[in-house]
């Protein structure tokens, strides 16, 4: 993973609540065994409409998706953040995220940014070419008028993102603790053989 650096981008607004993972990447594209090539099917069914925002200039070369409440609800498919990042997104701003989507995103350098309702509403009113700055280190969003908005990120995920390290490396170092747990819980850990 690459270290997650500060950036500035236009917003791609999707003013809808409860955008589910079946819309982000329909299940028929999950028969792949690789992570590649999912971007071309991002929001595939909605892209059938030529006026859908990803088909317009505004949807191109922007790195921040602005969506309604409970973004990413539904299935656990990590293909959703894979498709979003391959398309070029590095952050999604909403008032809330589904749990599994949020966890999956943080592991793929896609930062789920939760903002208060008033800031969320204001972001939707910004002009098309307005740019917003994301700085993960200070956990701040900077709006074009200079307003700074802090957003929450758990400190562990933040460190992983900023330093470009994945979780597995950290967990593997916990081997002595895992082995000790297994030794002390042998009665309740049922082997299947």
């Amino acid at each position: 993973m690459q270290p997650y650096l500060p950036f500035e981008s236009r917003l791609v607004p999707l003013p809808m609540n409860n955008i589910d993972t079946d819309q982000i990447i329909p299940a028929r594209f999950l028969k792949t065994t690789s992570k590649e090539g999912l971007d071309k099917n991002l929001f595939c069914d909605w892209r059938q409409d030529p006026n859908f925002i990803l088909n317009t200039p505004r949807g191109q070369n922007a790195q921040i998706l602005l969506a309604g409440d409970n973004f990413g609800c539904g299935s656990s498919r990590e293909h959703a953040p894979w498709a979003l990042t391959q398309f070029g997104f590095r952050a999604v701003i909403s008032t809330s995220f589904a749990d599994i989507f949020k966890q999956n995103s943080l592991k793929n350098s896609l930062v789920p940014i939760v903002v208060p309702a008033d800031v969320h509403a204001k972001l939707f009113t910004l002009p098309e070419d307005a740019k917003v700055k994301v700085d993960l280190a200070s956990q701040t969003l900077t709006l074009p008028d200079g307003q700074q908005v802090e957003f929450p990120v758990d400190s562990f995920s933040k460190t992983c993102l900023l330093e470009g390290i994945d979780e597995l490396g950290w967990i593997l170092k916990q081997e002595p603790f895992i082995a000790a747990f297994e030794a002390s819980h042998s009665a309740s850990i049922n082997t299947l053989v």
Binding site: R28, G74, K107, Q174
Partner: protein, 468 residues
């Protein structure tokens, strides 16, 4: 000493491997279920790093999402699906994992086979790269869906980094009336709290109506916890749980069984434990439920009208209803009952167990399905299929004009060719009515097996209580 704890808090505490300030907790996983869709990239990751599967003896795989539900002796025609299915077999062989593959006598939907083989047990932590892993919470296990990166982490280390969820009590009082089922309880909960209502929480289902459910009914309820936003949903184990498990293939035996039951009896929520949130549903007044919209929270009682967005003040909420009505081709304010149906699907990890097939067969027996309706019945596993044959259920379905198929996820997720055509309406016993979920342009009404069977006979959305 800690204060009184809830069921989920106890299971969590029993699985803490390490807690360190500034990091999420490291928790141990007792059972890792694997299927073909969300695992290939995880196995590739292991290979790239030169890692093994730490506990193949705690890992079980099956093939369910991408396989056809037609004759199993035929090859899989879709080359991409065939490759994915073959990849799982190869991965399991290479890493030493038991795999109930296409030709196994135990093949089936992952959330059907775990419980029926006795793999899922109270007090366990159970994970799978699949959001309906919540199903296993019916046994008092802490069971939740994970992404593929986490699948890789669990394969490599048998642990997960997690933060504890909030606790959310769902109390279902009273006694369900004839025609009202476990599915109606969970659809009512989704309608009440909404699709995001349980986000960040683990549900604990309790109350007389939950206690009265069979294990299969409890699985139906827990299964759809994720449709109300909760990552997991649990039921405290009781005699119903123990009776279901006793004698199953992977259940403990003899003295081990007695020791396990003694452990399991300590799991129920302590007197005085406090939940972060609570909601109550009145089982006595519950009617059969059906969804009208494009998420599982958009549901009504079978005799209610389709909502009118003009009465909603919140703009995004109003837009969502309007958009859903356009997609569904429905008119605000009209009754949902009587709406024509093209397809009935009885199956999925929510409702494909033997009791679901029995319930549908009891309605359909000796009758003919409406000639305008294509009715698909898909048992959840090879074990369910065998039991159904022993009870003569396939003949009942076939004599009525149903298409009775081989086990798999089938039209719940429409990855395998079983799908709606654009514009078609289904009454489906599955768990999601998202746009395109059952096929591009398809329109889904979620309901119970009884309501689905009623629609199969009449060709329209029907209150099953009128034909009981």
């Amino acid at each position: 000493m800690p204060g009184p704890l809830t069921l989920s808090q106890k299971v969590w505490a029993n699985h803490l491997v390490r807690e360190e300030a500034g990091a999420p907790s490291l928790i141990y996983v007792d059972l890792h279920l694997v299927h073909e869709v969300t695992s290939p990239q995880a196995f590739s990751g292991l290979r790239e790093r030169g890692l093994k599967v730490r506990r193949p003896d705690l890992t079980i795989a099956t093939t369910d999402h991408s396989i056809p539900t037609t004759d199993r002796s035929l090859p899989i025609l879709d080359p991409i699906a065939a490759n994915q299915v073959a990849q799982l077999a190869t991965n399991c062989q290479e890493f030493g994992i038991t795999h109930y593959g296409v030709h196994s006598e135990h093949q089936g939907i992952v959330h059907v086979i775990g419980p029926e083989l006795g793999l899922t047990q109270p007090g366990m932590t159970v994970v799978c790269g699949d959001s309906h892993t919540a199903t296993h919470g019916a046994f008092g296990a802490l069971a939740f869906g994970i992404g593929t990166s986490e699948v890789q982490n669990v394969l490599a280390t048998q642990t997960l980094l997690q933060r504890p969820s909030k606790t959310f009590k769902v109390q279902v009082d009273g006694t369900l009336k004839p025609g009202v089922t476990a599915k109606d309880i969970i659809l009512a909960l989704c309608a009440k709290v909404g699709i995001g209502g349980g986000t960040g929480s683990v549900f604990e289902y309790t109350g007389a109506a939950i206690r009265a459910l069979s294990m299969e009914g409890r699985m139906t309820v827990s299964n759809m916890s994720i449709e109300a936003g909760a990552r997991a949903g649990m039921v405290a184990p009781d005699d119903t749980t123990f009776e279901y498990l006793h004698g199953r293939h992977f259940a403990p035996m003899g003295a081990d069984w007695d020791a396990a039951v003694a452990r399991w009896k300590k799991l129920p929520t302590d007197e005085g434990a406090v939940f972060d949130q609570e909601v109550t549903i009145d089982g006595d007044s519950l009617a059969p439920m059906i969804t009208w919209g494009t998420n599982p929270g958009m549901g009504v009682s079978i005799n209610q009208a389709i909502p009118d967005p003009s009465t909603i003040s919140d703009a995004l909420e109003r837009d969502a209803i309007e958009k859903a009505l356009i997609y569904m081709g429905l008119e605000a304010g009209k009754p949902i009952a009587g709406h024509p149906v093209n397809v009935v699907f009885i199956g999925s990890c929510t409702n494909s167990r033997i009791s679901d097939l029995r319930a549908a067969a009891a309605i359909i027996k000796g009758r003919k399905v409406n000639p305008n309706v294509r009715v698909m019945v898909v048992p959840g596993s090879m074990d369910v299929k065998r039991q159904a044959i022993a009870e003569g259920l396939p003949e009942i379905f076939r004599a009525a004009g149903c298409d009775y198929r081989e086990p798999g996820c089938s039209m719940c997720i429409a990855m395998n060719g079983d799908q709606l055509q654009p514009g078609e309406y289904s009454v489906s016993t599955s768990n999601r009515n998202f746009e395109g979920r059952q096929g591009k342009g398809g329109r889904t009404f979620l309901a119970s097996p009884l309501t689905a069977a009623a629609a199969a006979l009449t060709g329209v959305v029907t209150d099953v209580r009128t034909i009981l």
